[in-house]
């Protein structure tokens, strides 16, 4: 199949590659750019393990062709921490509040949480639950993910963070 050149910005750096028109964005990210943080968990856009941030919105990268992302600005979980390696407040929150277990959904949850807090810096618990309803987790029961996002919201607002997970 004839290949197409795509160029985009990924985690602040330029990225390019030759893809088939049918190549899914998740496969371009994982297999050509070696950004294996985002995962494939289903075939139907339900699980959100593949979530990345694209031009200021959360997208499921398994439901988008790489060619559709040509020219886009993408943030994946690998780009969340500061260049010096300091963890983002969300990454810190997920660890502090035990918001992950097997880690498979975590990159998608983190990038989704990132966009959620960009749009709504002080979300209520219900808003967080609704905001991550496109991301499935089989391990945690979500309760500590909600706490992790609340932790990050407080930290980003400079407010004191709650006690760590029980």
């Amino acid at each position: 199949m004839a290949k197409v050149q795509v160029t985009m910005k990924v985690n602040g750096a330029p990225a390019e590659g030759l893809v088939e028109p049918r190549t899914l964005l998740i496969h371009f990210l994982r297999e050509q750019l070696n950004l294996t943080g985002a995962h494939v968990g289903c075939d139907t856009s339900h699980c959100g393990a593949c979530t990345v941030d694209l031009d200021g919105r959360s997208v499921k990268s398994c439901t988008m062709f790489a060619v559709q992302a040509d020219g886009a600005d993408i943030l994946t979980v690998e780009g969340l921490a500061a260049p010096g390696g300091t963890l983002h407040a969300l990454q810190e929150g997920f660890r502090e509040m035990h918001g992950l277990q097997c880690g498979f959904c975590t990159p998608g949850m983190l990038t989704r949480g990132y966009r959620l807090l960009e749009e709504n810096p002080r979300p209520s618990e219900d808003e967080i639950r609704a905001g991550i309803a496109g991301n499935l987790c089989r391990c945690t029961g979500y309760q500590n993910i909600v706490k992790a996002i609340q932790y990050a919201a407080a930290r980003l607002a400079g407010a004191p963070v709650k006690e760590a997970a029980e």
């Binding site: 088939e20 049918r22 190549t23 496969h27 994982r30 297999e31 070696n34 950004l35 294996t36 943080g37 985002a38 995962h39 494939v40 968990g41 289903c42 075939d43 139907t44 339900h46 699980c47 393990a49 994946t76 979980v77 690998e78 921490a81 963890l87 990454q91 997920f94 660890r95 502090e96 035990h98 992950l100 277990q101 097997c102 880690g103 498979f104 959904c105 975590t106 990159p107 983190l110 967080i128 639950r129 609704a130 991550i132 309803a133 496109g134 991301n135 499935l136 987790c137 089989r138 391990c139 945690t140 029961g141 979500y142 309760q143 500590n144 993910i145 909600v146 760590a164 997970a165 029980e166």
Partner: protein
């Protein structure tokens, strides 16, 4: 100096040992997207495999034509049963003593059964080529109802064994019969029923479900022709068992097989077994001489790679009028699908279903189980539970509620009258188990107090009156469950997998600087072993948990173990870890005695050091002793400081708990809204309360999913009708209730640190608790048993049948 020496308590806190809420070491890589899962692996020259699967539930395979597929650029090979047969690999042995087709030879027996394996240079080409393989089928009548499996004239499913009268577990009654298994005293039980003042009987079915971890099953196989060595990276909950099975099947010597389970994206029982895709990838790598990756998609996972439950339990309890149970009789019809690939210890075809007497003091009981073949996917894995334990807990907990209803007793009160009493432990159950420890009454009373149970019942009564007066359309249900698990398989006298005793292991190496590398025979899939095993070592040896690296999953380096499932890691490998640490400590004590020039008996242990009794100023820390072990050991002692322990537990452990659920049912929509869920767990000694709570949250959420919506459904011709996330229920953060957790602590008397295991308790206790709550809402209207799953439609239908819609 003394005023700045940290106290014992301060030093203990710094170790981050047992009992503290240590943050997980795994998280550092996971939150940065740096986990290393199977599909992340990329090897030079790696090929991709994809499976051609049957569209039919039951059909004869007339012809397979792979010419068009092979002609597609990028396709390297197409494997069928004809290619595997000369290698004797077209069938593989199952854990249950049956065989399972790797690629279908003459017949397909379930929809999406594996028929051909396409190998190509990239995953897209492999998928294209799978579409181009032309298979000619002749459809046969499908058998999907297990109750019709042994009817005269039922379709013959397994032609390969139709004339075999002996199965792996005794005589077969019918060509679709797999095994009959029974336990308990039949005559004494029948007599208890003949004499009973009150009896109840109900068919309690536990629907077919799927564990559905977020990462599907997958592997990369790489055969090195020069060395004759095979390396397989895979989603394996039991990597050593996979290595042994791979060696037995392939005849490659076991020392030339390297099995590596990297990070695993959830297992829940799904990743215990060996599946056709693994075998195909291995053969493909041998044939092509290149690494081959196989990654199943979600539809394949849900429809073909195992299942759980599908247990149909006809349950009877005999009791006195005042609510003392006098006998339990259960017959189970077990639907095992097309091949018996049930993942149980080899001598236990119905798992540990004989824990079905639950937490109650039944004087007699009898259980009989018949397993049958149907045109459904093979499997029978323990989805977040020990073997068939959630089936047993659901069975007894529903039946106790039905008995309470018949007696006009409160369900909690009936339980209090029958719970095994604290002084009865160790308790011999009527079906052969020795429960190790418990204080059941204290746990249930604590739970009832925590939710103000009496007030809830009063509120429910008022609601029922209001409902009758037409003032509300909502019913209130209160679910109570009290469960006893049986985990940590197992004593080798009882439990083996294909003849390998079910022990587990730990190897601890203390390096000269006092840093530690420890390896276990288990394999975490999210449970946090790297964090918690280090806590055990930290407490045992007085070395900081942060200086301890825990490794699992590489069969080249880890000692042999049976893997992680059935909540066995803490009871077995956790015990092995403590025992190996104690061997090291004993040697360290000898070194300390030599250095301090006293007798070993004059030393006492203090958190992180041996000190001279009565002279605490004279001591040697474990860190100093580690150095000395490599620098200056006493005469007659080997240098070095390491130990390995293979732990064969003397008994299983019996975690227990009391759960209470409060929900409101809208009779016009069928929506059940969980208002409150309180879970009290007793898992013995608690290693990391944060991780325990996380395990309980997760297990309760899976229990909620099973009770309220999950079901793998088949139509009458064997089509699996819901094998995707479009319609297989996985709750999101919106539907998932909030969980309240609590605990009591009754250590296991036989476990070195008193721990019992916890990962699966919430599923075992949670499912009946939700089901009892829904049933409880309707029972004042005369309903006795509503089958799971309690989805909106089914609940609405129940309301409709009860005439609640006018």
């Amino acid at each position: 100096m003394n005023d700045v020496t940290p106290s014992s308590a301060e030093r203990a806190e710094k170790l981050q040992g047992m009992g503290c809420k240590r943050k997980r070491v795994e998280d550092i890589r996971f939150v940065q997207g740096k986990g290393s899962y199977v599909d992340d692996l990329k090897l030079p020259g790696m090929l991709h495999g994809d499976l051609v699967r049957s569209p039919y539930g039951h059909a004869r395979v007339r012809k397979i034509d792979a010419a068009k597929a092979k002609a597609l650029p990028g396709v390297v090979a197409v494997l069928t049963a004809a290619d595997l047969k000369p290698l004797n690999l077209h069938y593989m042995p199952t854990l249950a003593g049956d065989v399972q087709a790797v690629l279908a030879e003459e017949k397909v027996l379930y929809q999406n059964q594996e028929v051909a394996f396409v190998i190509a240079t990239d995953r897209y080409v492999a998928a294209d080529a799978a579409e181009l393989v032309e298979v000619e089928y002749e459809e046969l009548p499908a058998l999907v109802d297990p109750f019709k499996a042994m009817a005269p004239g039922a379709p013959v499913l397994r032609e390969d064994i139709k004339d075999k009268t002996d199965g792996a577990h005794g005589k077969r009654k019918h060509y679709n019969h797999i095994f009959a298994w029974q336990i308990g005293e039949k005559e004494a039980t029948d007599q208890a029923f003949r004499k009973a003042e009150v009896t109840v009987k109900e068919l309690i079915s536990y629907q077919r479900v799927h564990p559905c971890p977020l990462e599907t099953c997958q592997c990369v196989a790489s055969f090195d022709k020069i060395k004759g060595e095979l390396t397989v990276w895979g989603t394996f909950q039991a990597p050593h068992v996979i290595r042994t099975v791979a060696s037995l099947i392939s005849k490659i010597p076991e020392h030339k097989i390297h099995v590596i389970a990297p990070d695993i994206g959830g297992g829940f029982g799904n990743k215990v077994g060996a599946y056709p895709g693994y075998i195909c990838a291995v053969v493909a790598s041998i044939v092509t001489g290149r690494p081959v990756k196989w990654v199943e998609d979600r539809i394949e996972n849900l429809s073909a790679t195992s299942f759980a439950r599908d247990y149909h339990m006809t349950t009877e309890i005999a009791a006195t009028k005042d609510g003392r149970v006098t006998g339990l009789r259960v017959h189970v019809l077990a639907d095992h699908g097309a091949f018996d690939a049930c993942a149980d210890p080899s001598k236990w075809p119905a798992g540990f279903f004989n824990i079905v007497t639950g937490s109650y003091d039944f004087p007699v009981a009898h259980v009989a189980v018949d397993g049958v073949y149907t045109n459904k996917a093979p499997g029978g894995v323990a989805y977040r539970c020990s073997f068939r334990v959630t089936e047993a807990a659901y069975c007894i907990e529903r039946a106790m509620d039905i008995l309470a209803q018949k007696l006009g007793l409160d369900p909690a009160e009936l339980r209090l009258r029958n719970l095994i009493r604290r002084e009865q432990f160790p308790y011999q159950s009527a079906l052969g188990w020795e429960y190790d420890s418990g204080d059941y009454h204290a746990a249930l009373k604590k739970a009832m107090d925590a939710v103000d149970y009496r007030a809830l019942r009063a509120e429910q009564k008022a609601r029922q009156e209001a409902f009758k007066r037409g003032e509300t359309r909502e019913l209130m249900g209160i679910g109570v469950s009290f469960f006893t698990e049986i985990v940590g398989a197992g004593p080798s006298r009882n439990c083996d997998i294909l003849g390998i005793a079910m022990f587990d292991s730990a190897e601890i190496r203390i390096h000269p600087t006092g840093a530690v590398t420890a390896r276990m025979g288990t394999k975490s899939q999210g449970q946090g072993h790297e964090t918690t095993y280090a806590q055990i070592i930290a407490s045992e040896l007085g070395l900081p948990a942060d200086d301890i690296t825990v490794e699992e999953g590489n069969t080249d380096t880890a000692p042999y173990g049976l893997g992680t499932y059935g909540s066995r890691s803490t009871p077995t490998a956790g015990a092995a870890t403590a025992m190996a640490a104690r061997k090291i400590k004993a040697k360290a004590q000898m070194i300390a005695a030599d250095l301090l020039e006293v007798s070993e008996y004059d030393l006492e242990w203090d958190v992180d050091r041996f000190r001279v009794k009565g002279n605490p100023e004279r001591f040697k820390t474990m860190k100093e002793l580690a150095w000395a072990a490599y620098n200056r050991v006493p005469k007659g002692l080997e240098p070095g400081l390491e130990a390995v322990n293979y732990y064969d537990p003397p008994n299983m452990t019996y975690p227990f708990g009391a759960y209470i659920c409060v929900l409101d049912v809208d009779v016009d929509t069928g929506v059940c809204k969980v208002r409150r869920f309180y879970a009290l767990d007793d898992c013995g000694t608690r290693i990391n309360p944060m991780i325990i709570e996380g395990q309980i949250h997760g297990g309760l959420t899976e229990a909620f999913a099973i009770a309220m919506g999950q079901e793998i459904r088949y139509d009458e011709i064997g089509n699996c009708t819901n094998p995707s996330f479009m319609d297989y229920f996985l709750p999101t953060a919106v539907e998932t209730p909030k969980w309240e957790t609590d605990w009591t602590t009754t250590p296991s008397p036989h476990h070195p640190i008193g721990a019992k295991g916890v990962g699966e308790s919430p599923n075992v206790g949670g499912v009946p608790c939700f089901a009892n709550a829904v049933n409880d809402a309707f029972k004042f209207l005369g309903s006795t048993h509503i089958a799971m799953p309690h989805n909106h439609w089914r609940t609405w239908t129940v309301a409709d049948k009860l005439g609640l819609h006018g």
